[in-house]
């Protein structure tokens, strides 16, 4: 049984810099459980921007330390990948009463990556770590409608880190 751990931008922002106990707690969790967090390409692009105003999240450090990796491009030839993408865009749009086309595709990329791995069998269980509740619940809802209700878990990024840090102290 193989598990896939998909991380969103907010998890890395919430971890802070490598000197921070939150970053260290997530890294320890990954190593102890032999987990590699996978970032959809669009998420990596968000995190890796050069912005003089902000201290960039340490995504490249986590990749160099080999507990985080960037996913290969989504395979849209798998029909379920497009369906998951569209479904999550619709779900998020409904929550805020706006057209689905307005919804950023990076929000839906989390679910689309999960769908791809579940349908090809490279993962049997997927965990999605995000700080956007709408994206996490959207992924669970849409993938449940594809028959993967028991295989997808939305993990709130803030709660996850809080639990890890509390557990460590």
């Amino acid at each position: 049984m193989s598990r896939l751990h998909i991380a969103d931008t907010g998890l890395f922002v919430a971890m802070g810099q490598p000197s921070n106990s939150r970053y260290q707690a997530v890294r320890r969790f990954a190593r102890q459980n032999d987990i590699t967090f996978v970032l959809p390409e669009r998420v990596y692009d968000e995190l890796a921007v050069e912005n003089p105003d902000v201290e960039a999240p340490p995504v490249t450090v986590a990749i160099d330390e080999e507990w985080t990796t960037v996913a290969s491009p989504l395979d849209f030839s798998e029909p379920i990948v497009s369906r998951a993408m569209d479904g999550v865009q619709r779900y998020i749009a409904n929550g805020d009463d706006r057209p689905a086309d307005d919804v950023e595709r990076a929000d839906a990329a989390l679910a689309a990556l999960a769908a791809q791995h579940l349908s090809t069998g490279t993962a049997t269980e997927v965990y999605i770590y995000t700080t956007d509740i709408a994206a996490g619940e959207g992924a669970e809802t849409v993938l449940a409608s594809e028959g993967y209700g028991d295989s997808v878990t939305f993990v709130d990024g803030f709660q996850f880190i809080e639990d890890l840090v509390t557990g460590d102290s």
Binding site: S72, G95, D107
Partner: protein, 198 residues
């Protein structure tokens, strides 16, 4: 219109000006937010909590009392002070939009003293921009929007949106009712068998 209601109009304008002062001065905002949270406090409490010198603490507390947003609740020494609830709704002439200035916004402004992300955001987008961000922060914690929708709407980078949303999150939980979502760590069964995604 009676003189009584004219007097009440004056009070509203005075409130508006007082609140504008609070939003301009993060240390006053921080002090107001502290008093609002504590229900009642003395000047020594304020000095301890906000790390202020005695003279500065008295000066700030008196300014808030003069502005009418804080009152003396017990005149015996040491005096105790309490914040008045602020809830001021401003609307556009057309009446199509309105915004309510709440203790949450004042709290958020006060945190600029101790939070670099809030400070940077106000530098770039002003207190008005922070008010907008706070609206998104509440909606995000309620699962209605994502950081990317906010970034698109406001034409800022998704990373900048995520950072200010995270900086404002404690304000949201302090002032609004929000349910927790997602699965907790102790319910996760994550051990072993990482998927191959190379």
């Amino acid at each position: 219109m009676s003189r009584t209601s004219n007097h009440a109009d004056g009070d509203i304008v005075r409130d508006l000006l007082s609140i504008a002062d609070l939003l301009e001065d993060p240390q006053l905002a921080q002090l107001y937010a502290y008093l609002a949270r504590e229900a009642e406090a003395t000047v020594p409490d304020v000095m301890d909590e906000l790390d202020l010198a005695q003279g500065t603490a008295y000066n700030y507390v008196n300014r808030l009392v003069d502005a009418g947003v804080v009152e003396v609740t017990n005149d015996e020494q040491p005096r105790r002070y309490a914040a008045h609830e602020i809830d001021l709704t401003v609307s556009t002439p057309a009446g199509d939009r309105e915004y309510t200035i709440t203790p949450a916004l004042i709290d958020a402004v006060g945190r600029r003293e101790t939070n670099a992300d809030i400070d940077t955001y106000i530098d770039r987008h002003g207190v008005a921009g922070l008010a907008t961000a706070l609206t998104y922060a509440v909606a995000r914690e309620r699962g209605e929007v994502t950081h990317r929708l906010m970034a698109d709407d406001l034409d800022i980078s998704p990373l900048a949106a995520e950072m200010i949303l995270q900086a404002l999150r404690p304000v949201v939980y302090e002032h609004y009712d929000v349910d927790k979502a997602g699965t907790a760590l102790d319910e996760l069964d994550v051990g072993g068998g990482a998927a191959d995604d190379t």
